[in-house]
Amino acid sequence: MTREALLNTAIMALLAAVPIIAHFTGNPFTITLATKVAILAMAAVGLNIVLGLGGLVSFGHAVFFGIGGYSMGILAHHAQLFIPIMEAPFLIDGTKSMPIIWLVAVITSALVALVIGALAIRTSGVYFIMITLAFGQMFYYFAISWPAYGGEDGLPIYVRNSFPGLNTLDPIQFFAITYVALGAALFLSARLARSRFGLALGATRQNAERVETVGVDAYRLRLVAFVISGAITGFAGALFADLNRFVAPTMFSWQMSGEFIVFIILGGIGRLFGPVVGAGLFILLEHFLGGVSDYWLIYVGAILLAVVLFARGGLIGALAGREVAHD
C-alpha cells in the first residue's frame, strides 16, 4: 500500500468512526455534521473529475447540485401533497422513494451537464470559468423567480424520503446511506482515473495538442467527463436536500460552486481524497470558528492562501507527498 492509499483508508475510517461514536454517546448533531461532510465531499468528488483530472475549472457545479436538490424537492413535494407532477399526456406522480429520486437527479443533471458542457467546453481558461459561472447564475435566478416550488423561500419537505429496509429518520442510518454513496463515487472516480478514458483525459489537461495528434478528440473526452462529473454532483445534491429536508435557490448559488472548488484546493487538486479532506476541514472550521466570529470565512481564506502558496498538493499532498504516477 502506498502512503496515500494508507492515508485514504485512515480518512475513510475516521469519517465512519466519528458518527458511530456520536451515535453511541447520543450526539445526533455530530452525526449530522459528518453526514454533511460526506455529501459535500461527494459533490466535490464529482467536480474533481473535470477540475483535477481534466483541468477544467468549472465555476458552475452548483447547477448540478441544485438540479439534484430540486429533483428531490419537486418529486417529494408532489408526493406529500398527493398532486401528480403532470397528468397529460401521461400521468407522472411524485415519489418519496430515494432510489427513484436519485435516478431522476442523476439523469437530469447528466442531461443538463451535456447541454452546458457542449457550449462551455468550446471555450477554455477564463472564458470557461465565466461561462460556467453564468449558467450557475441563470439557474439561480430561475429558481428564485419560479413560484411553483417556493421561489426565493425554498421548498420544505416534511418527512425524509424513504429507502427500502432502512429507517432514514435515524441519523446514523441516513449517514450510512451518504457514506456508501460517497464511497461509491470515490471508487468510480478512482477506477476512472486509471482507465483508458482517464489516461486520455489527464493528458488533455497537460497538453491537448498531444492528445489530438494521436487521433483522440479532446472535446469529446472533456464533454463526457463533464457529464459524469455533473451526474455525481447532482446525486450529492439530492442527498443534501434530504439531509436538510429543504431545498432553496442557494443550492444553485456561485458561493456553493466556489465552496466545492475550495474543498478541492484545500484537500489537493486531482487527489482522490482531496475533496473529502477539504470538505471535512471546511465544515470543521465553519462549525468551530462560525461560533466564535461571523467572519470565519476570512480564516478559511487565509488557510486557502497558505495552501496555494506553500502546499500545492493541498493537505493530501502535504501528508502523502507528491502524486505517484499510476503503475
Binding site: 476512472l192 483508458r196 478514458f197 482517464g198 495538442e209 495528434t213 494521436v214 463526457v224 504516477a325 499510476h326
Partner: protein, 251 residues
C-alpha cells in the same frame, strides 16, 4: 510510378502581409524520405501545421492516402494515419515516458471511451508501447517522469509516440534538433530503416542527415519551393546555392 501517399496542391498561408507559405505543392511517395530544408523562418513549420491539420490554409488542398483531407481536423488526419512529431516537444509532461507511449497506442487502438479497466495493465497496449520505446532506445527510461527527461530523450519519445500510431506517413519537424552528434547519427540510422515502414516528410536543419537520408529534397525560401530534386541536383542548383546552401557552406 505509384500514387503519392501525401500531396499538397498550391497551399498558401499568410500572416498579415507575410506570405509564410506561397503556392506550395509537394508530394511524398511510398518508401521515400522527402526532406524539406530552408533557412529559419522560411515557413517549414507553417507547412507542416497545414499538412497535420493544426492550421487551415488560406487556399490550396491537402491530399492524403487518396482523398482530400483539407477539411479534416488534426484528429481526423491522425486517425487516417498521419504520424507527426513536433519541432518543440509536445508531450504530457507529468506522465511517465511509458504513459506517453501508451497514450499513443491507445489513440491508434481508438477505444478511448472505456472507464473501468486499468489502462496501464492492458497487455496489448503495453506491448506496443514497450516495443516503440525499445526501438528508439528509451526502454530504461520507461518509468521516468517525462518532465525529467533530457531534451534529447524527449525528442526520442516524440518519435516513439509517432511509432505507436503505426502511421501511413510520418511528418517530422526537425527531429534532430538539439540531439548532439551521437544522437543525430543514431536517429539518422533509425530513420533510414523507418522509411520502409512508412515514408517520411522530414524537415531538418542537420545537412549531414538530410543528404544521407533524403531520396528527394525540396528547398523552401520565403514560403516558396525554389527547387526539388535529389541530393546531387540540389547541391548543384545555383538558386539553392545563392539562396541557402551558400550561407551555410555546405556545398
Amino acid at each position: 510510378m505509384t500514387d503519392p501517399i501525401l500531396r499538397t496542391k498550391g497551399l498558401t498561408k499568410s500572416f498579415g502581409a507575410l506570405k509564410a507559405c506561397n503556392d506550395v505543392s509537394l508530394d511524398l511517395f511510398p518508401g521515400e524520405i522527402h526532406a524539406l530544408i530552408g533557412p529559419n523562418g522560411a515557413g517549414k513549420s507553417t507547412l507542416i501545421k497545414q499538412i497535420a491539420g493544426n492550421m487551415a490554409p488560406d487556399s490550396g488542398e491537402v491530399w492524403f492516402d487518396g482523398s482530400d483531407v483539407t477539411h479534416l481536423d488534426t484528429v481526423g488526419r491522425a486517425r487516417r494515419g498521419l504520424g507527426r512529431t513536433f519541432q518543440i516537444s509536445s508531450l504530457a509532461m507529468e506522465y511517465t515516458v511509458l504513459q506517453n507511449v501508451v497514450l499513443g497506442a491507445l489513440g491508434r487502438d481508438g477505444g478511448v471511451m472505456r472507464f473501468f479497466k486499468p489502462v496501464m495493465k492492458d497487455k496489448r497496449l503495453l506491448e506496443e508501447a514497450h516495443a516503440a520505446l525499445d526501438r528508439v532506445g528509451l526502454t530504461e527510461q520507461a518509468a521516468t517522469r517525462t518532465a525529467d527527461l533530457s531534451h534529447g530523450q524527449r525528442r526520442q519519445l516524440e518519435v516513439a509516440v509517432a511509432l505507436t500510431l503505426k502511421p501511413k506517413a510520418f511528418l517530422m519537424d526537425e527531429p534532430m534538433a538539439g540531439l548532439g552528434v551521437e544522437g543525430s547519427r543514431n536517429l539518422t540510422g533509425f530513420l533510414d530503416t523507418l522509411r520502409h515502414e512508412a515514408p517520411i516528410l522530414l524537415v531538418e536543419h542537420d545537412m549531414d542527415a538530410v543528404f544521407a537520408l533524403a531520396d528527394r529534397i525540396s528547398v523552401l525560401v520565403y514560403g516558396e519551393i525554389i527547387a526539388t530534386g535529389t541530393g546531387d541536383e540540389i547541391r548543384a542548383n545555383r538558386d539553392v546555392r545563392t539562396a541557402y546552401l551558400g550561407e551555410e557552406d555546405v556545398a
